[in-house]
């Protein structure tokens, strides 16, 4: 498929009927919380969109994001969109390797300089370039170099968005997120470990349709997908509201699908669309499968105080602190008490007798 075909032509070649395409646009519109009227606009824009050039750079990552996005066992509409774009460079997916692969990347950068989309997954080590390089070029340099010509950058996965697992304490590689290094380009953080596939394609679709990045929250994540917390949309919320909690993973509560708050669920402090779009085409999502949410779309979720410790529990040993404090307090109290007592007893010893003649004020 040459680059000059429009997205619409490519999709028709792949047998996607006009109606199927319009259905996709309507789904995307609703997904993006856009008004229904936008569906035809999306369809028109996608119809005419030139095949965008996409460069996918993978740095310190586990390929989970790519895996999540490109499951091959069932062609989904997201997959079609993904095929539709001109993915010019992706280590895992591209056939070329070695210098040929790098040549392809440079070619793509030159050819559509200024309007290709840079997708990054994985965090960027800063302590020592040697931790992660591609073809002898450090991740950091490659990112800076490639970002210069990018129209927009999509940081896929919590690693790229916030530093993710490599960034977790003690962060030996000095891993940082894309937005820590790139300050002058619009960056869309699509956090999650991995993020939900439809969120990635949704963001691409938005960019293709409007040529601009969607509304972002304070962490640079598309509000459409990360506006609400899991807790707000969790189907087990009524149990939380009534105080019915699973105490262990296979007790009565867990079996009857009660709230997993006590098992460490981070739903209340995690923003993602898992509870609504769910995973594997709406099959389920972690809480529905009986496991508390880990809060993977939040920065530093790995150091968030223990996956199985409830939000309301302390993250340090308060008991021990209290014991030390009691010891210290008792010692201080006894000492200060003794000082008071000595002062009072001294006052008594130095008591000046008050007689009836001392009752009148001094003249």
């Amino acid at each position: 498929m040459s680059k000059d075909n429009t997205l619409g032509e490519i999709l028709r070649k792949q047998g996607v009927s006009r109606r199927g395409f319009l259905k996709f646009c309507a789904a995307t519109a609703s997904l993006m919380a856009l008004p229904p009227g936008m569906a035809p606009v999306i369809a028109q824009a996608l119809e005419k969109a030139r095949r965008p050039s996409v460069i996918w750079l993978s740095f310190q990552e586990c390929t989970g994001c790519t895996e999540s996005l490109t499951r091959s066992y069932s062609p989904t509409v997201e997959g079609l969109i993904f095929d539709a774009i001109s993915l010019d460079y992706h280590h895992t997916l591209m056939a070329a390797s070695g210098t040929a692969a790098e040549a392809a990347r440079e070619a793509a950068m030159e050819q559509s300089y200024g309007n290709y989309i840079l997708v990054v997954d994985g965090s960027i080590p800063t302590r020592n370039a040697g931790f992660s390089t591609i073809a002898g070029v450090s991740n950091r340099d490659m990112l800076l170099d490639t970002a210069r010509g990018a129209a927009a950058i999509v940081a896929v996965g919590t690693c790229a968005a916030f530093g993710g697992i490599p960034h977790a304490n003690p962060n030996p590689t000095g891993a940082v997120s894309v937005s820590d290094l790139i300050k002058d380009k619009p960056i869309i953080n699509v956090s999650g470990c991995p993020p939900i596939p439809v969120v990635i394609t949704g963001v691409l679709a938005h960019f293709l349709t409007f040529g601009a990045i969607p509304d972002l929250d304070s962490h640079g994540r598309p509000v459409a997908f990360y506006g609400k917390s899991i807790h707000d949309r969790c189907y087990r919320r009524p149990f939380y509201d009534r105080g019915l909690f699973a105490e262990s993973f296979d007790d009565e509560g867990a079996k009857s699908g009660w709230c997993l708050y006590k098992l460490g669920c981070k739903g209340p402090t995690t923003y993602n669309a898992c509870a609504t779009t769910k995973w594997n085409e709406g099959t389920s999502f972690p809480i529905e499968s009986g496991h508390p949410c880990l809060g993977c779309s939040e920065p530093d979720f790995w150091d968030g105080g223990g996956f199985y410790k409830a939000i309301s529990t302390p993250t340090e040993d308060i008991g021990r602190t209290a014991v030390y404090a009691i010891g210290g307090g008792a010692a201080a109290g006894l000492a200060l008490g003794a000082i008071n007592r000595a002062k009072r007893n001294k006052a008594e010893k130095e008591h000046e007798q008050v007689t009836i003649d001392d009752l009148e004020k001094g003249d």
Partner: protein, 220 residues
């Protein structure tokens, strides 16, 4: 910039440790400063038992005599409501019990969350009524100093912020939970320096009161 997760982890960790440390050391010091001063033995011939009298008053002073109840019904009733409400909300809300369990190792059954929710509302309304009473009642206005109003604020904040955090009103929830934890830690830190100490010293005061009277054969 500290992210919300880091903030919550810090608040539930080091910050809570500091607050607990100040609270425990402060209370211990205040209590020992009183106890070490001590009391001279009574040389008069006893009529009743001081210890029995002291213990009795610790319990019985919680029940006002009928006449006082009539004269100061508002103070008495609002006092019971917001104290009981405050403790029920604190001690019987499931997530709080997890907190106590992880800190102290003991646990107890929780009340249904809607009950706690209602109790919190009642407590807040009563505390507001108590503030109005403190501002309008002749005696209370005369007695009240800055500290009385500060302690009122520090007492109502945890309940209000907890209610808002639970119902997730306004800003993003992690911040609401953070604010709630901060208000609790403020309460703990200021506790030993204010009249909140009465939560501990009232037992000693009632004991002394009852002992002095009990020694003389009076049920105080």
């Amino acid at each position: 910039m500290m992210t919300e997760t880091q903030l919550l982890v810090w608040l539930r960790g080091p910050a809570l440790q500091v607050a607990i440390a100040i609270f425990v050391v402060g209370v211990a010091v205040r209590l020992l400063e009183v106890l070490v001063l001590g009391r001279k033995a009574d040389l008069a011939e006893a009529r009743g038992s001081a210890v029995a009298g002291g213990m009795r008053t610790i319990l019985m002073r919680s029940f006002p005599d009928r006449a006082t109840l009539q004269r100061a019904a508002f103070t008495e009733i609002t006092g019971y409501i917001f104290h009981i409400g405050f403790f029920v909300t604190l001690l019987f809300y499931a997530p709080h019990i997890l907190l106590f369990n992880s800190a102290l190792g003991i646990s107890w059954p929780a009340l249904p969350t809607p009950v706690i929710d209602a109790t919190a509302v009642v407590t807040i309304i009563t505390l507001v009524a108590v503030l109005i009473h403190r501002l309008t009642n002749r005696v209370m206005r005369f007695l009240s100093r800055f500290q009385d109003y500060l302690v009122w604020l520090l007492t109502i904040l945890p309940v209000v912020t907890g209610y808002i955090a639970f119902h997730r009103i306004g800003v993003t929830p992690p911040i609401l939970i953070a604010i709630h934890i901060i208000s609790v830690e403020l309460f703990l830190i200021v506790f030993p320096f204010t009249k909140l100490m009465h939560a501990f010293t009232l037992f000693m005061s009632r004991y002394y009161n009852g002992a002095i009277a009990g020694y003389r054969g009076v049920k105080s």
